[in-house]
């Protein structure tokens, strides 16, 4: 069920949020009528961009986590409970350490494409919420300053390489003691 919405077009889903968050029949209109305030603005704000980003990148976080938790030995949880640990204790000391590689993988998978995101801030943020993708568009397509745009792209790649290096270090660090899952 989590995957089904993502079989439809990314653009269509993003434009649908334009309607849902919009002032006419959307959330902003609803909030206006409930609170009685004149103008509730959601579109064109970082909140709208954040909702769009969370919506579109949710599966990239869910899938690695799902794979990690699916592979987890359920008897460990049962053993922990049988030995008297509570729900929170079992989660903190058994489930979370096992799920940590999936959490890190998901975070990387979300972080890197999100850095270059351009469509969502443009549609839901009206271009006011500025991400690296918008800066690249300004340089390449509007200012036609390709060297500046290329420098930004190199900066983006450097951030990506540093993040990935940290990720590889994390995987290697835990290799001896933890079963890791990469994609």
């Amino acid at each position: 069920l989590l995957v089904i919405p993502f079989w439809t077009s990314f653009l269509i889903r993003t434009y649908a949020w334009l309607l849902i968050l919009g002032p006419d029949a959307g959330l902003a209109g609803f909030l206006e009528s409930v609170t009685g305030t004149e103008q509730v603005q959601i579109l064109g704000t970082p909140v709208a961009v954040m909702i769009g980003l969370v919506y579109n990148y949710l599966p990239l976080m869910v899938f690695p986590l799902y794979v990690t938790l699916e592979r987890m030995d359920r008897t460990l949880v049962e053993a922990s409970k049988d030995l008297g640990a509570g729900r929170w204790g079992t989660f903190r000391q058994v489930t979370l350490p096992i799920a940590l590689p999936g959490l890190v993988t998901g975070s990387i998978l979300v972080f890197i494409p999100m850095m270059g995101e351009y469509v969502i801030p443009q549609i839901l943020g009206y271009g006011r919420t500025y991400l690296m993708g918008n800066a690249l568009v300004t340089d390449f397509l509007e200012a036609r300053n390709w060297p500046s745009g290329s420098a930004r792209a190199v900066f983006l790649i450097i951030i990506m390489i540093v993040t990935l290096a940290g990720y590889v270090w994390f995987l290697n660090r835990g290799r001896k003691t933890r079963e890791v899952s990469v994609l």
């Binding site: 077009s9 058994v94 290329s150």
Partner: protein
């Protein structure tokens, strides 16, 4: 990690024997919360789709408020040429994608098992890095490459630059999809082949190729999910098309 963690958790639990009973009383509440959370997540995921589906039948063209049921937008969409052209382009991108991803996808699993830790680790790292390139950077790199190359080709010959950028961008997820479907097969056969002295090329010819063609009863095997995924991605691609066919893509010289 898990065994000491369990012991630690158990140790704490043993010091507080009444804790388990106290937690169990909240079981219904916790389950209710998770049900509510799941329902909220599904509502969040499906709401945009429902809105779009409902709106497609709305008679009123401009405002999102409901003005009555109508099917005329479907007939208009089907009659427009712009609705038909993406299909061949997306197929054109999806076919090389699936073909390119087929040998590379099972490689880290099947081919690197007997090549030594050092090489296998490098292959895995390269494979990992391949999956983490922002789409926008690929689009820009393609634009710069085509626009500044010494050959006198225009940047976009029948969508060639868009197609190549899209192929480059969509190959990693296609490769993941193919790898996921090939991962269901046991790796023991592969190890058996290599232990029997077969080379990597032999291994791919005997294992990778046939598995890509027909695992089980499917005629297209791993290729079809890869093709479909790439096709879906290419069908509504916006970023690559905007960049590669946008301003600056036509050279002045």
């Amino acid at each position: 990690v898990t065994a000491p963690a369990v012991a630690q958790a158990a140790g704490r639990g043993a010091r507080r024997p009444a804790a388990r009973q106290r937690v169990d009383r909240w079981a219904g509440l916790v389950e209710g919360y998770f049900r509510f959370h799941a329902a909220l997540t599904y509502a969040f995921l499906f709401l945009p789709i429902i809105v779009v589906v409902v709106l497609a039948f709305n008679a009123r063209p401009r405002r999102p408020s409901w003005e009555g049921f109508s099917l005329r937008w479907f007939s208009i969409a089907l009659a427009t040429r712009s609705s038909a052209t993406p299909s061949p382009t997306a197929s054109w991108i999806a076919v090389p994608n699936a073909i390119l991803a087929t040998p590379s996808a099972p490689w880290p699993r099947s081919g690197s098992q007997r090549v030594g830790t050092r090489i296998a680790s490098r292959v895995r790292r390269a494979d990992l890095h391949e999956h983490h390139r922002p789409e926008i950077v690929i689009a820009l790199a393609t634009l710069v490459l085509f626009a500044t190359s010494s050959c006198d080709l225009p940047v976009d010959v029948r969508g060639s630059s868009s197609s190549s950028a899209a192929t480059d961008d969509h190959r990693p997820p296609t490769s993941v999809s193919i790898r996921a479907s090939s991962a269901a097969r046991p790796g023991a056969a592969c190890r058996g082949w290599t232990d029997a002295g077969r080379s990597s090329a032999d291994l791919f010819a005997t294992r990778g190729g046939p598995s890509a063609r027909s695992p089980g009863h499917s005629c297209c095997g791993d290729l079809s999910p890869g093709f479909l995924l790439s096709f879906t991605f290419s069908f509504d691609d916006f970023v690559i098309t905007t960049f590669v066919r946008g301003p600056g893509s036509r050279r002045s010289r």
